[in-house]
Amino acid sequence: MGVGIEVTTLNAWYGTNHTLQDINLNIPANHATALIGPSGCGKSTFVRCLNRMHETNPVARVTGTVRIGDLDIYADAKPVEIRRRVGMVFQRPNPFPTMSIYDNVAAGLKLNGYSNRHALDEIVEKSLKNSALWDEVKDDLKKKSGASLSGGQQQRLCIARALAVDPEVLLMDEPASALDPVSTAKIEDLIFQLKSQYTIVIVTHNMQQAARVAEKTGFFLNGRMVEFDFTQKIFTNPTDKRTEDYITGRFG
C-alpha cells in the first residue's frame, strides 16, 4: 500500500545553482500527483529529492525535511533503504542491457541478496502482469535481453523492475516523453491502474497527460512551487496568474 509524502521547506542546489526554493507540499497516499512546469523549473530535481537520487551528483546539496509515511528520509534512513521503498522510472527507458527480461525484473531483489527462486518467479510474473507486459514477453523471459524490446515495452519493463521490489511510492520522471502515442496511452492506463496500490508522483511536460491521470497537480516555475491543487481546478480555474499563463500556452 502507498503512503503519503510530506515535504517541508525543501531546498536543493547543484553547485551554486539554487534549483529548488522552499517547497512545501503534501502528496496524498494512493493517488497520482502530477508535476508540471517549463523545462528547468526544478520538477525533476524535486522528484529526485524524494528518493535521495539528487545526492548521487557530487555537487548536489539539499536541506529541509521529507517524510514518506512515518519515515523522515533525510534523518532516519540510509539512501539505499529509501530507494527500496521509493521506486523510480526514468525519462528514457534504461533496462540493464546485458540482462534477460527476467533478470531485469528480478534485479532489484537479486542484487539485494534475495535468492528464493520460486518466490522470484512469482514476483517476476506478478510485476510483469502489473506493468501489462506479461503477455508480450512470457515466452522469452530468459531468452531475450531487455534491450531487445521496443521502446514502449522497455519502459513497461522498467516499471515492472521498479514494482518488483514492492515500493510504497513510485516516482515517474516524464515516463512517456520518449514514447509514441500508443505506448504513451498504455503507460497512462497503467498509471491509472497502479494508483490504487501505490502513491504515484509523475513529472510531465504534457498537460493533457496530467489532466488524464492525476487527481492533484503542482505547477513549478523557476525552482518554486507556484500552485498545488486538484487537477481540475488547476486546469479550469487556477488561482495564480502565472499558472493560467502557462496552461493557456502564453509561455513555457
Binding site: 528518493n51 537520487m53 548521487t56 557530487p58 539505499v80 533503504e81 529509501i82 530507494r83 527500496r84 521503498r85 521506486g87 523510480m88 526514468f90 528514457r92 534504461n94 533496462p95 540493464f96 542491457p97 546485458t98 540482462m99 534477460s100 534485479a107 532489484g108 542484487l111 539485494n112 522469452d140 531468452k143 531475450k144 535481453s145 534491450a147 531487445s148 524490446l149 522498467c158 523492475r161 521498479a162 521490489v165
Partner: protein, 288 residues
C-alpha cells in the same frame, strides 16, 4: 538547371564510391601485414613442424630432430601467471579510475602512471624486475618471468577497462541505484558486467602483446633447455627459444626458429579465439 542537377548527382555518386574505396583500401592495408607474415611463416616454418616439435625438448647442436615442447609449455605457464597477476590488478585499477575515483587527484596520478608504464620499453621492464625479484631471490625463475609479463599487462588492461566503463551510459548506473542497490554492488554486477565484452577485448589485447615479448624474459625467465614446471627455476619460453635459435649459426636451428614463430602466432590466435568463443556463449538475443 536540370543539367546542373544531374552533374551534382554524378559528383555525389563519385564521392560516395571514392569514400567507400578509401575505406576498403585501408582495411586491406590493416589486414595485409598479418596475412603476409602468416604466409611467410607457413612458407618457412611449416616444413619443420612435426609431431616431435610438439612433444620433444631441443637436441644438442649436431643432432637432428628435437622440438620445442618445453618452450610451448613454458610460455603457457608464464602467460598464465602473467594474466593471473596483470588482469585482476588492471581491471581493479580501471574500475577505480572510472567508478570510484573519478575526478580525484589519486585517479589522475594513477592514470598518468599507467600511461607512462605503457610507454616503458620492455627491456627496461625486464631490468626492473631483474633487480626487484631476480636479484633478491638470487636466481632466474619462471616466477619473475610471470611477474614481468603481468606488470606489462597492467596498463593496457587498466586503461581499456576504464574506457569501456566510461562508455556505459549513466542511466544504467542510475537504474541500479534507484532500486536501492548499494553502489559497490551496482558497479560489480551492473556496470562492469555491461562493459565486460570490451574489458575482455582489452585483456586479450594485453595478452597477445606480451605473448611475443622476448627482451624482458632474458633477464627473468632466462630460458631452459629442458622441461621445467617449477616456478622458482628458469623456464623456457617460445619467444626466447626463437630468439636464441634465430641468432645461432646453424641452419637446422634457423628452420626450428621459423617453426617456433609459426606455432607462437597460431597459439595466440587460438587462445584469443577460444576466450572470445567461451565469453560470447550465453549472450542473449538483442543484447547490445
Amino acid at each position: 538547371m536540370r543539367n546542373e542537377h544531374t552533374l551534382r548527382a554524378k559528383i555525389r555518386t563519385l564521392a560516395d564510391y571514392a569514400a567507400t574505396g578509401i575505406a576498403v583500401f585501408s582495411t586491406v592495408l590493416v589486414v595485409a601485414p598479418l596475412v603476409a607474415i602468416f604466409i611467410y611463416l607457413v612458407y618457412k616454418g611449416a616444413v619443420s613442424l612435426n609431431w616431435d616439435f610438439f612433444t620433444k625438448v631441443p637436441k644438442p647442436v649436431g643432432e637432428a630432430g628435437g622440438g620445442m615442447a618445453n618452450a610451448i609449455a613454458g610460455s603457457a605457464i608464464l602467460l598464465g601467471l602473467g594474466s593471473l597477476i596483470g588482469i585482476p590488478i588492471g581491471i581493479g585499477g580501471g574500475v577505480f579510475l572510472a567508478e570510484f575515483g573519478r575526478g580525484t587527484r589519486l585517479a589522475n596520478a594513477v592514470r598518468f602512471t599507467a600511461d607512462v608504464l605503457n610507454g616503458v620499453p620492455s627491456i627496461v621492464m625486464g631490468i626492473a624486475i631483474y633487480s626487484l625479484v631476480v636479484v633478491p631471490q638470487g636466481h632466474f625463475s619462471a616466477f619473475s618471468g610471470g611477474v614481468v609479463l603481468g606488470v606489462m599487462m597492467i596498463p593496457t588492461v587498466c586503461r581499456t577497462t576504464e574506457e569501456m566503463l566510461l562508455m556505459v551510459p549513466n542511466s544504467v548506473r542510475e537504474a541500479a541505484l534507484a532500486l536501492g542497490v548499494p553502489n559497490w554492488r551496482s558497479v560489480v554486477a551492473i556496470t562492469v558486467r555491461t562493459a565486460s565484452p570490451g574489458i575482455i577485448t582489452g585483456c586479450m589485447l594485453a595478452f597477445a602483446r606480451v605473448a611475443g615479448e622476448t627482451a624482458p624474459l632474458i633477464f627473468t625467465a632466462f630460458g631452459n633447455g629442458d622441461w621445467s614446471a617449477r616456478l622458482n627455476e628458469p623456464i623456457a619460453a617460445l619467444p626466447l627459444q626463437i630468439y636464441v635459435y634465430a641468432l645461432s649459426p646453424y641452419d637446422e636451428w634457423h628452420r626450428l626458429a621459423w617453426a617456433g614463430a609459426l606455432v607462437l602466432i597460431i597459439l595466440i590466435v587460438l587462445a584469443v579465439s577460444l576466450v572470445r568463443y567461451v565469453t560470447s556463449r550465453g549472450v542473449l538475443k538483442g543484447a547490445s
